[in-house]
């Protein structure tokens, strides 16, 4: 029964995937209730919903066959704080009359379960976050990205001139370390489709970058924060190894360019007064990214895995962080570890939820 939705309600963002069937027969069209039709039209004919909902058109998967049906998969996101409005809209559009199951994952599936029931007269099917994530990653990688590779890496990450994005074949994915960077970070070791474990996590994630940027620069969107960061110089904010030792610290094999102390220069009043907001945004981005890289690297070593896949919405339009992760993993592991990325960054949990819906049907 249509409609087919998968929902991932995170701490900051709600990710929604919607399967738009393109093989609807005239007969079906006839039978399709008005509600359903209007939802389909509303979602597919807009790229923005309300003031905060956005459809990532560039990520749309075309001509996908799912459960014997052909159609397009749409990727939509909006802030979690607009969840009540979303439920309200569902209620107004009499979503509940469609007698469909709404599969949801993420912490919000629990947090908003009651609201869905009381406000929207909807019963949520709550799904495990990590199960969905892995399911989604494996599925999307297997179907590819409209004929292109879903997975990619950066060649020559340590060489800014020669660094380039190249497709990566993830046909034999196991074992892999999956690092999901949302508001916080979860790190999973995946040994097979069913066999995985959560290795660790850190609270220093996308939410920390954005939260600190808001406090330090007064910015109000993630995009704005990233944009400022792209114009900043973090070496004015951070204390580098060369700032302390005048060059490399040879005793420990530390290169002079390495950050010795994040925000270390900000201990001095003069330097605090001379940095720009852009510098601060950049330093925040570098700090959080390097830290995630460092924890991921340690986990990979402890788990004896050499492929690290980074996903999550922190990486959306965030080339600085991706390149830095690729660089850091390569440099500090002396080429032993490879950082991989996926085009659909933050949507895998929602895709997994959709797949659960179809599996259960």
């Amino acid at each position: 029964v249509f409609p087919w939705f998968g929902l991932d309600i995170g701490g900051t963002l709600v990710k929604l995937v919607y399967f738009e069937p393109k093989d609807i027969t005239a007969e079906e069209e006839e039978e399709e209730v008005e509600n359903l039709k209007s939802i389909r039209k509303y979602l597919t004919s807009n790229v923005a919903y309300g003031s905060t909902g956005i459809r990532d058109v560039h990520l749309e998967l075309k001509d996908l066959t799912l459960c014997g049906r052909k159609g397009n998969l749409h990727f939509i996101r909006f802030p979690t704080h607009d969840m009540p409005a979303f439920i309200q809209m569902g209620s107004e559009k009499h979503f509940s009359s469609l007698h469909t199951t709404l599969c949801a994952t993420g912490g919000g599936a629990y947090k908003f379960e009651q609201d869905f029931r009381t406000m929207g007269d909807l019963q949520l099917c709550k799904l495990d976050e990590l199960d969905c994530l892995i399911k989604g990653v494996l599925y999307i990688d297997s179907v590819g990205f409209n004929g292109h590779s879903e997975c990619y890496y950066f060649e020559n990450p340590t060489d800014a001139e020669r660094c380039q994005k190249l497709p990566f074949n993830l046909e034999n994915p196991y074992p892999l370390l999956l690092v999901n960077i949302g508001s916080g970070v979860s790190i999973l070791a995946v040994y097979s489709k069913e066999n995985y474990k959560r290795v660790t996590g850190t609270s220093l994630g996308g939410g920390t970058f954005f939260g600190l940027c808001c406090l330090l620069t007064g910015c109000s969107t993630f995009e704005e924060a990233l944009e400022m960061a792209s114009r900043g110089d973090s070496t004015k904010v951070d204390k580098l190894v060369r700032d302390i030792y005048g060059g490399d610290y040879e005793r420990f094999g530390l290169p002079g360019w390495a950050v010795a102390s994040s925000f270390g220069n900000m201990m001095s009043k003069e330097k605090r007064e001379s940095v720009s907001k852009e510098d601060l945004a950049k330093a925040t981005l570098i700090t959080i990214t390097n830290n995630i890289g460092s924890i991921a690297r340690m986990c990979a070593l402890n788990e004896n895995i050499n492929r690290v896949v980074f996903v999550g919405n922190f990486l959306r339009i965030n080339t600085i962080s991706m390149r830095l992760l690729a660089y850091a993993l390569d440099y500090w592991s002396k080429g032993q570890l490879k950082a991989l990325f996926l085009e659909h960054e933050g949507y895998f949990g929602a895709v997994g939820a959709l797949l659960e819906l179809l599996d259960s049907a």
């Binding site: 609270s203 939410g207 939260g211 994040s262 830290n291 340690m298």
Partner: protein, 731 residues
């Protein structure tokens, strides 16, 4: 360092020691002569001093060094840390010495190894909100390998495998500098200490996104802890809300501490290490950061790794730089002991813990370590040296016992000062020095009331040792020397008649009489207040009377029957090691007859006495004279000494208690050579306050008379209750 200067220097200290020397008795009227001669001599010992003060006083410090540079050979001064660069010119100009800069990390690790090896209770775990916030660890005989996590402006993680082998295995740029720099930006608060103050008042839950913020109320059903932080600063992702400075500082503190703890755990796991020591200015003396780091390590290691801290962490670099400079003297070949009299306690400068003290002493802090004449090692017979804890009661833990003993030592203090003054009737300033001693020890006791953790685990032993150190500091090296001399003289006169009466007994009665003699001798203990009162008022209190005071069998702890059975049925012991207690009646009429019986059974005896004086305990040099005099009266002792069946050794200690993990190396060698299979420990200090629960690899006998009614009460007995504990290790 960034704000503090730590100075390490080596000095020779001249102080008075009491020496005994046997008279030449030939042709003299020995009846009316004292047994031996006591003289007070000047002795020169080596001492390491460590001083810590704010950088603003650097010039005063350099003046001090200039005035005390007695060794004109000195051409260089070793310096490490950021300030080594900053103050190089000033130091060179003022002192006329060349500044030799040493690598920070190398110094840190050298210093760390040094304190781990030489200072008992150097290491502690920190538990906020528990009765004993500081949990001190006993020194493991093997300190390697360990992980040192130094949290300065950044974080360095170093794996230390041996004295000279260490490796930087990782680090993080998120450290103390991040807390300080980012904290200053967020809160407009400039000083590190003030930021910590802010953090300790804040609520991080207003700024951080918690698991329960993401999951709503459902986290419990999922087995998640709702209070875990899902995203640090995850609630500040808005431009239109104000956050309090306190809350932001707290959130930042958690973020950084958790991150460091997590990385430390990951590195510990990768390198298979379970000891992590934390240091650096982020940690130094700050309960707030020790608490958050401890929490983080517990969380990320699931309790498998313990966050450990060091009492003298702030001195590591200076100690290391000093050791580098003193390499040709090889300071590592010696054993060193912390001098409690000359050291300010842990956190003596922390405003959080002791505001009173801070206002008085500023940030001035010091540590003194005495070079011991001989190296100290474990008793080879300890069952498990890594878990051996000398002390029976941990007073940091046991508030009631702590209160009692601190009061007890306070009440006894006037008497001790008086006796110290009286022991030097010919000295003009004895009274004045005794008063200074009284003041100093009184202050130490007050500090310990406030900060029981100041010098490691507080124990009766540490209280006694601190008193000895303070007495020495004011040149009362041996206040009991004359008392001991007199008592030894009196007891020697009785020796033969005691032996005759013992020899007239049947075998079984004799064994019991010997044990009673040992116990009765032990009643003569000036260290115990109840006894010193009796002794001072009733000088005739004799050996027989002491016996009559003893508790009748069954004793409070009584395995005498098993002991007798062992003597009767078992083969003679190969070699017995006896730790002697008091001078006079104890050693001469209690221990020596017992030794004589063991020798007659064919058991060799190693008699161990203290190297230096403590209370009325018999010292090694006194024991030599006593043995010589007994040998002159008794052929069994005489031939045993001659044939080296009876060996007198020193313990390496000057404490009224006994730490079996720090004993003279010569003793340990002998114990091994002679295949010692019996250890006898006597006296309250050595067998009850310490070693009551010590497990040994061989048979052991612990005996004492409880001469303190509070302690007797605690153990379920009365004053003069008897402890006779014969233990056989399980196979």
């Amino acid at each position: 360092g960034g704000s503090l200067t730590k100075l390490a220097y080596y000095s020779t200290v001249q102080h008075k020691v009491a020496r005994v020397r046997s008279f030449d008795h030939s042709g003299k009227d020995i009846e009316n002569e004292p047994l031996y001669e006591i003289s007070v001599q000047e002795e020169i010992t080596a001492r390491l001093h460590f001083i810590k003060f704010e950088n603003t006083y650097i010039e005063t410090c350099l003046d001090f060094i200039k005035d005390h540079l007695v060794n004109t050979e000195t051409k260089v001064i070793k310096a490490t840390g950021g300030g080594a660069y900053k103050f190089k010119d000033l130091i060179e100009k003022k002192l006329g010495l060349k500044v030799d800069k040493e690598d920070v990390m190398t110094c840190l690790i050298k210093g760390c190894n040094f304190v781990l090896r030489n200072i008992p209770h150097e290491v502690f775990a920190y538990q906020k909100d528990s009765d004993a916030e500081f949990r001190f660890q006993t020194n493991h005989p093997n300190i390697f390998p360990y992980l040192l996590v130094n949290i300065g402006s950044g974080v360095s993680i170093v794996k230390v495998e041996t004295e000279d082998k260490f490796e930087w295995i990782g680090g993080s740029s998120i450290g103390g500098g991040t807390f300080w720099g980012l904290g200053a930006l967020l809160t407009k608060t400039k000083k590190f200490d003030e930021l910590l103050q802010l953090a300790s008042k804040g609520q991080h839950t207003n700024v951080d996104m918690l698991v329960k913020d993401v999951y709503g109320g459902a986290y419990q059903t999922l087995g998640l802890s709702g209070n875990l932080i899902a995203s640090s600063f995850g609630k500040s992702t808005t431009a239109d809300k104000e956050f309090s400075k306190e809350d932001m500082a707290k959130s930042l503190l958690h973020m950084i501490s958790n991150d460091i703890g997590q990385l430390a755990c990951l590195y510990a796991k990768l390198h298979n290490l379970d000891k992590i020591y934390f240091g650096g200015f982020f940690i130094r003396g700050h309960p707030v950061t020790m608490r958050t780091i401890t929490y983080s390590i517990n969380f990320f290691s699931k309790g498998e790794v313990q966050a450990l801290f060091l009492r003298h962490e702030g001195y590591l670099g200076a100690i290391g730089a000093f050791l580098k400079g003193a390499e040709q003297d090889n300071p590592n070949q010696y054993s060193w002991g912390e001098n409690y009299a000359g050291s300010s306690g842990l956190m003596s400068t922390s405003p959080d813990v002791y505001p009173m003290q801070r206002s008085r002493s500023g940030t001035f802090d010091m540590l003194e370590m005495d070079r011991l004449e001989r190296p100290l090692v474990n008793l080879p017979l300890l069952k498990d040296p890594s878990t051996y804890i000398p002390d029976t009661v941990d007073l940091t833990d046991d508030a009631m016992a702590r209160k009692y003993w601190l009061t007890c030592f306070e009440e006894a203090l006037d008497g001790v000062a008086k006796r110290a003054a009286a022991s030097q009737p010919d000295s003009v300033d004895a009274l004045e020095r005794a008063e200074k001693f009284r003041q100093k020890y009184w202050n130490k006791l007050q500090t310990l009331r406030q900060q029981p953790f100041a010098y490691g685990t507080l124990t009766v032993r540490s209280l006694l040792d601190t008193r000895e150190h303070c007495l020495n500091e004011f040149n009362f090296p041996d206040p009991y020397s004359k008392v001991k001399q007199k008592e030894n003289g009196i007891a020697l006169k009785c020796f033969q008649s005691v032996i005759e009466s013992l020899d007239s007994l049947g075998w079984e009665e004799r064994q019991f009489a010997l044990v009673k003699g040992l116990l009765a001798g032990n009643v003569f203990d000036w260290g115990a207040k109840a006894v010193s009162d009796v002794l001072e008022s009733e000088p005739q209190f004799g050996f027989e009377e002491a016996k009559s005071k003893l508790q009748e069998r069954p004793w409070l702890e009584d395995s005498y029957s098993q002991w007798l059975e062992r003597l009767k049925e078992g083969p003679p012991h190969k070699c017995a090691l006896i730790f002697a207690d008091n001078s006079g009646i104890d050693i001469i009429l209690g221990v020596f007859p017992f030794v004589r019986e063991l020798l007659s059974r064919g058991t060799e005896v190693i008699l161990a006495c203290n190297s230096g004086p403590a209370l009325n305990d018999v010292t090694y040099s006194e024991s030599l004279i006593v043995a010589e005099r007994i040998a002159a009266m008794d052929p069994i002792i005489q031939s045993a000494l001659r044939d080296e069946k009876l060996l007198l050794v020193q313990t390496g200690s000057s404490s009224p208690c006994l730490d079996l993990s720090r004993l003279d190396k010569g003793l340990a060698v002998l114990v091994r050579e002679r295949k010692t299979d019996l250890v006898i420990i006597e006296g309250m200090g050595r067998a009850i306050h310490t070693n009551y629960y010590a497990a040994l690899k061989c048979e052991s006998l612990k005996l004492a008379v409880i001469k303190n009614s509070w302690l007797a009460d605690r153990l379920g007995g009365k004053i003069f209750s008897v402890i006779f504990k014969y233990e056989v290790p399980c196979k």
